[in-house]
Symmetry: C2
Subunit: 376 residues, 2 copies
Amino acid sequence: MRFLQTADWHLGRKLHGFDLQAEQEAAFVQIEKIALQENVDGIIIAGDIYDRSMPAEQTVDLANQMLQRLNLTDHLPLYAIAGNHDSASRLATGTPWFSSTNFYLHTQLAEAFEPIELETVQIFLLPYFEPFAAQQYFADDSLLHLDQAMAAVINKIKQQFDPTKKHLLVGHFFAAGSSQTASETRLTVGGLAPVPIDLLTDFDYVALGHLHNKDALQTNKIRYSGSPLKFSLSEVRQQKGVFLLDTETQQTKFYPIKPLHDLHDLQNEFAELTNPSFYQSQPRKDFFGITLTDQKPIPNVLARLREIYPKIVALQRTADYSELFEQSQSTKKITQQNPLQLLDDFYQQVANEQLSAAQIKWAQKALQNIREEAKS
Amino acid sequence: MRFLQTADWHLGRKLHGFDLQAEQEAAFVQIEKIALQENVDGIIIAGDIYDRSMPAEQTVDLANQMLQRLNLTDHLPLYAIAGNHDSASRLATGTPWFSSTNFYLHTQLAEAFEPIELETVQIFLLPYFEPFAAQQYFADDSLLHLDQAMAAVINKIKQQFDPTKKHLLVGHFFAAGSSQTASETRLTVGGLAPVPIDLLTDFDYVALGHLHNKDALQTNKIRYSGSPLKFSLSEVRQQKGVFLLDTETQQTKFYPIKPLHDLHDLQNEFAELTNPSFYQSQPRKDFFGITLTDQKPIPNVLARLREIYPKIVALQRTADYSELFEQSQSTKKITQQNPLQLLDDFYQQVANEQLSAAQIKWAQKALQNIREEAKS
């Protein structure tokens, strides 16, 4: 049987303040198209459908539309689980009715032990869970850590194995050996400790969610699909897409997803970044993380860059800029200078001229007011 | 056909800070029992299933359990709509799948025009909507007020009438002629203006939600079921329950719901309320709103009453207490007295003794500190 594998949609997520709904919709259209063209037997969604447990109404609308589209319009079976970003309770709404159209969405640990029985495959949908849930389920207080809890869970899952079928696990956790990136480090808050890969070797295939990098694990049988979009600058070099899994041949094939607006990082001098001969060759409607190599202050820098690159998601300096600044003699001088002298120096640096007599008078008056307020 | 009519469950609601989940569950068990014993053809839930658009996870769990129980375990058809307290988006989750088991839950205005076709009855499920939704649906900016919008909606609904069947409307709005109570006045915030009853006369029956009083309308064909619980002291005299509607005989029958803990109001003197010969005959585990008839201050009064009546939801004085206080000469004196004299008077009133020398010294020091702080 052939399944499309995706995960970590994080619907509702913003990219440094920029709304991603149009990007999400564009990625979804491609996922749907791949599934239909390849005539898959179902779509695996390995958790984190939502970005947060309390999604906004428009995000609920979006998720509802997408899942209805795939399952009710396209008649594609869905095999989905809750991730750590989803609210299991909210995601559980309606699930008992979904199976009537082969939409399986597991949100509770206990559901992992009820495999979806297909002709040649058993699918075990193991939602994100915390060790406490396993302690309760197994009535065993010794399951303090996720690796211990996972060992008990996998053991119980194996007891349901039908030896005549392939065994497919869908999970949402951090499997050991994967390399975490900045945006995923944040996701592990809440005790999502690594799960040793050797616990998973008895499955024919393990479709994972949680890490956003499709290459996080270098194994053929255990794979993260990665997220369909780049959700942080740490993912800027990752290729995004979905996998197609064939359980007969045990082959997977990667299908890239073309972003509506890609995310790039640029490192250059301000003069070059604002030079038409440079920027006219840039995909300027895309998202940019910019690192300036200049070593001088640049007045109003973000606003000036945004005139050329409207969607700057982050702006920083190369490391040596702040080092230089910190180590310079001017830093030491700052603590010794009087405020008016400091203002004059700053004004010269950014405006390339000295303060006028009127400006000095205004500044003196402002300083006087501050001193009086401090006294009272 | 025979339907149980209920509405305004307001799951997640608190009664002046007291959690009502156990009360809600107890009422639900009775509703379920009536439906099963009477072997109804379905349950009508006329909006405000939730108390708020962003319900807590445990409230989502509770609602999911109840609706699953009725529809999937008991196999009872459900005919439900969103009310003004529900989030239409959140409540819409899963609805396209629900109809496979005769669970109809309408959240959007457009759905009102797709009647549920039963053997002898058409059910029109009209969710709560604001005039703006009707403006959009009919592309008519003149529908500024709810009565105008409702006229257009009802007119369009009538175009779907099958003359061989009875026509049943389920709605959530304030129909004119009903008497609003305090807790419902709050619900009308957001422009839920009255709808004239004569708009509704072409239906064989109209099952309404929104007002919590089953007797809000004195008509046989248009009825509020009221809420299954008392949600405020303004509802203290209302009998709570559900209706059973028979569309053949056009008869309705009221089935009371017995609260796990009822809500009472008590008006009496403190001495009487705290007298065992009085309070031992009171259902002291219930909720109480207490009005004290005393005309003197009573120190620590709420804590002392709660030792006897643990679930006091409101405590007030009779009107003449504050009037008396306002009109008394002491009020005039207060503005003229110095603070220490005022404290001494107050202490005598509540403690029945004068301030000791040490207390006076402490009070003087505190007043001195206040004066100095005021100066600086």
